[in-house]
Amino acid sequence: MPPEADDFDIDPAFRDRLARIISQLDATDFERVDPPDALWGRIAAAVTAESARAQTQSGTVVLYSINADDVVIAVDEGWTAFARDNDAPELVELDPARTLWSYFDNDETRDLWRVLIQQVRAKQAQAHVPLRCDAPHMRRWFEMTITSAPNGAVHFRSLLVFEQPRPSVSLLGRRTERNNETPAIPVCSWCGKAFDGFRWDEIEELARDLRLLEDLVPSITYGICPTCRDLMSADLLVSEETRSSPRSATPHR
């Protein structure tokens, strides 16, 4: 091998090279071993960490603004990169008709943000909000700075302050096949904990328990846990009553 040279359109140098390789082929050259199941998660986590590091080095991770009608009007490359990184391509191209509130699926969280942004606008001030915004392979802590701007606009600047790789949590995967017949799992946007119907716990713990019982994971909905809600509400009240500028609550971590 290869068969007669005049049978095929083949470069003689390549033919010789291939002949040398093929003459040494043995059965082990065809053997394949499947990688360990966890390996892809490690690779994805490493790539995500590299990407986030590169973004952090450039300063802002995510930057966007809303106009006086609360429509998201401007995003930077960080938004696009973050949307892609979190497997949310529908957020890459923003709908000019959608307000910020349409991105919330939890009334209570939406109301808290409304109050906060009202305060920022009313006082022409700045607020700082710590947030969790995890990817399946990565725990991420952000610091969001909300700043009022002329004509009712508000700027949001989120900086990644810390991240920590972890084994992938399929519960957070946007492409994960879901069991929609079971109630959605609430996840706190502030501390990242999830509610299993009885208690708020780290999402990895909850996911581990669920995996024992379910073939398909339930849907999730982003909201706020009671502890973070109380802290946030208290801080907003304090801000309203005593401060010249609001500074949103620092939820527990």
Binding site: P2, W40, I43, R84, P89
Partner: protein, 183 residues
């Protein structure tokens, strides 16, 4: 675990080069077993996983240098795996790890890293062929049958046999070009 799946290679290759969403995962699904198998052959099990991770993370970081017209992504990945393995083995030679006292003599020597990589790549090209083409190519390669003899044995048109072998040769050529491209 990432589901193994057939992938339209030209699409995957261009998507990978462009850094498209999901392209790394698709490349891992398509070629993770090849890269890992190669690393397992050259290194201990635990380090094979680390090496495979380095290959895919490095490949994604360097995706801008990958050119689909210069060879297959499988060849390119194995070309990178070859360098990763050689780096690890050279580091061992310079500084043998104290917690790994057992000799590596059950593994191929570092000098074989390139030869084994190329053989596994050619093996991959053959194994990935559709069944008929694979059978034909195996007869041509391992039994030294001519295209005419194969055509006669299987009562196939000579042109069909030649076309099958030509396609297999082309695939091997592109694999090896991808391998060279990783240099």
């Amino acid at each position: 675990m990432v589901e193994r799946r057939d992938t339209a290679e030209p699409d995957l290759e261009s998507q990978f080069a462009a850094g498209d969403d999901g392209a790394l995962e698709a490349a891992y699904a398509a070629h993770g077993a090849l890269v890992y198998s190669y690393c397992r052959r050259m290194l201990e099990t635990e380090r094979a996983g680390d090496a495979t991770q380095r290959v895919f993370v490095g490949a994604w970081r360097s995706r801008g240098r990958y050119r689909p017209d210069a060879g297959t992504i499988a060849g390119w990945l194995i070309g990178m795996a070859r360098f990763t393995v050689i780096d690890i083995l050279r580091a061992d030679e310079l500084q043998p790890p104290p917690d790994r006292p057992q000799p590596r003599d059950s593994r191929p020597p570092a000098g074989d890293a390139t030869h084994i990589a190329k053989r596994m790549l050619v093996g991959e090209a053959i194994a990935a062929l559709p069944e008929r083409e694979r059978k034909i190519v195996q007869l041509a390669i391992f039994e030294d049958l001519t295209a005419a003899q194969i055509a006669a044995r299987y009562d196939l048109p000579l042109d069909t046999v030649k076309a099958d072998i030509q396609r297999a040769l082309e695939r091997m050529r592109r694999h090896l070009e991808g391998f060279d491209h990783a240099a």
